[in-house]
Symmetry: C2
Subunit: 429 residues, 2 copies
């Protein structure tokens, strides 16, 4: 291929389109029409977020994003770019004016997206037209994608920052970090995003159900993991986190929950099975923990039932409490206190993280104020955030009991994306 016109599309999005015509359907990346729809929805949030953060302008300054991406770009611009490009959002009296300043070969593709008020294709270089736009608008602040603490908001490379500082040398003092806006833009899931995460959750539960039919006593954790892999392959989806522990599969009381991935341990009558599993479907992740019991409901030992109820109630309490405007740590505390009151050691992790294109999607964390979580649990929960609610307790004789649900934050509370687990899944074989 000649270096004449380097125009890369989203590889995986493209495979999906073709995949539909072929026996093998790869469904783990976001189809380009949905990617575009998400970008349209995200862009509708920008005006309010710029207002809230007091940004007069925002510049996303990137090049060859397939090699060195800015994590926020795909969500607001739907796709990769090759040449140096500036996506410029300017606050005006009439609202936010959105300009895509791209290499002239890329201009047609940007116009087709319909995302921009103006698409400018440059030929010689980006410096002159970019400076011109900023000189004309003369914004009081210029938000740039850098952050010391947040990888999601740290999309500009140092070389590109130097380049931008050269081009806009008279304006460098107006540069501010765009981090708080980017966290909201990513964290507030749009209707399409919530739908895609919900579909990933539904498929996760569908696969859980199918695998349940195939379980038999004596099967090892590794064999069960293989059943999951086969179902994922049939569905053309990917694991939501590292494959070695997705699904995680923990059989019986002997397994430590921290162990990375399944072993040769077998499922036995009177034992539990625990699984932490999520898929990436259409570019969005689920992350669900479920528990099985091998026996009848009346055979569950009292100690195990007490643990199960504790975990279930802790999630209930957190779900009833959570709503927009709260800090992350205050929600974690509700569940954590319940576990302690019920006589268990508190869990050694956060109650919940955000879900999105990544299983750990960044932003506010429902976590305790421990040093290793820094200021992240102090952030404010927003309507449209999607969180996991997950925790475990350890029993003396029956191993660990752990559940995890996925919820979206609504105006006044939260909604479970798929029905939560109420009881053990009982397998009598």
């Amino acid at each position: 291929m000649a270096i004449l016109r380097v125009k890369k599309l989203d590889y995986l999005g493209a495979s999906l389109i073709t995949g539909l015509l072929l026996p093998l359907v790869m469904r783990y990346s976001t189809p380009s029409n949905l990617q575009l729809q998400i970008a349209q929805e995200k862009q509708q949030l920008i005006s309010e977020l710029m207002e809230k953060n007091n940004f007069a302008s925002w510049i996303i300054f990137v090049r060859e994003t397939s090699v060195n991406p800015d994590p926020i770009l795909e969500l607001v611009a739907a796709g990769d770019i090759v040449w140096e490009s500036a996506f410029i959002f300017l606050k005006t009296k009439e609202g936010v004016h959105k300009t895509a300043l791209v290499g002239n070969y890329d201009a047609e593709a940007e116009k087709k997206k319909g995302l921009w008020d103006e698409v400018i294709g440059y030929k010689e270089g980006i410096s002159e037209p970019l400076l011109e736009i900023i000189e004309k608008a003369n914004p009081e602040t210029i938000a740039i994608n850098y952050s010391l603490d947040d990888v999601i908001a740290d999309g500009i490379s140092h070389g590109m920052f130097l380049k931008l500082s050269n081009i806009l040398s008279q304006y460098v003092e107006r540069f501010v970090s765009a981090a708080p806006m980017i966290r909201s833009l990513r964290g507030i899931k749009t209707p399409t995003e919530v739908e895609l995460i919900t579909k990933a959750c539904e498929l996760t539960e569908e696969i859980n159900t199918r695998v349940t039919q195939m379980l038999s006593l004596g099967m090892t954790e590794l064999e069960i993991q293989e059943l999951y892999y086969e179902e994922m392959n049939k569905e053309g989806v990917k694991e939501a986190w590292q494959r070695v522990s997705c699904p995680s599969v923990n059989a019986g009381p002997e397994k430590e929950l921290g162990h990375l991935g399944p072993s040769e341990l077998k499922i036995k009558k009177g034992h539990t099975l625990h699984n932490d599993f999520g898929v990436k479907l259409n570019g969005y992740c689920s992350d669900i923990q479920r528990m099985w019991f091998f026996g009848k409901e009346e055979e569950v030992p009292e100690e195990l039932m007490h643990a199960y109820e504790t975990v279930h109630e802790a999630i209930t309490k957190a779900a009833e409490y959570i709503k927009p405007g709260l800090t992350g740590y205050s929600v974690d505390k509700i569940a954590r206190d319940h576990v302690i009151i019920r006589g268990y050691e508190e869990y050694g992790h956060a109650l919940g993280h955000q879900l999105g294109t990544e299983a750990h999607d960044g932003g506010v964390l429902l976590g305790p104020l421990w040093e290793r979580y820094g200021d992240i649990p102090k952030g404010e929960i927003e309507e449209g955030n999607v969180f996991t609610l997950e925790l475990h307790v350890n029993t003396k004789n029956y191993g660990t009991v752990s559940l995890e649900e996925n919820v979206v934050i609504t105006k006044e509370g939260c909604r479970f994306l798929v029905p939560r687990q109420e009881k053990f899944i009982f397998v009598t074989i």
Copy 2:
């Protein structure tokens, strides 16, 4: 999954491993054992390259590379990391001392790689142990991955650069750009990399051969593209560049070569078929152009034959000339002059680009000294570089003739990775 221990492995590498057990084998990403082997081979180059560039130390400073990667990291460290990490190369009297300073949860995995003289797992934060290492070594220069011009060498984000500048505040004046070393590290393909690119080339030619058997008069470009997609699917490989034009498929004289992707044009007797096609196999790309003629060898019109010979000879001349130490533009000139002498308009692109994990792998370009290529063609060709040699000429009546071969630079010249195209592929149907 709890935010307790976030340890992500290479998703695609992992799918490959499991893929081997399942009917569907995804072969487009580098298996982790080969990735490790490549990192070992790359690290053997570092000592010489630090010497050549006069670097007393080199620091790769990264976090969550699955979200925000440093393009050189996978090649020298074989995989992603999650917590803030510093990979430190220090010139000493005994050679280069290599330290991986990573979060304590990642330390075990780094030790297993066997790439590092020392692996330090930090618990509280990276600042103190990093400063300690630099204070102890007191290097005169500290090479950092930033570059205004080269995306491959611009792996440090601005936020991470600020963080590093804070940690090493007394040493900021010793910071230099690691760009020249990174270009060589990426551009000099190791034996394993050359083997992987060769395998991608072999599979490309294998698929060309299979599709040739399936061609029939009246078939459209789009139908032919589908044949390629089916073969790629069977092989579990991906397109080497954007799928819409990989394969590109151009039938007959009416098609403009710049057109993005196949159309409804049909193949006809007495016409040519041109195809620009490459696959990504085991993470490495091929990029090959081939030409078919629908008819017998003696039926090729003289004008078409003259064009074919011109393109073929231009590649021959460039391949005979190219060797380590030459500038990129001097090689382009050899082919370009030949085309002009033979009475054709010169081609509007570079004669060749580098091939690797990307179809356009960056580094020195075999291109003319045109403004849009900047200084890249002035770079020096190195042993181990893998280049395309590609050009086209336009005929009056028979469309465009274009060929592309892939070569590796040897000590004294170059070697074609697979047998080059000598004649049209004649299809008599």
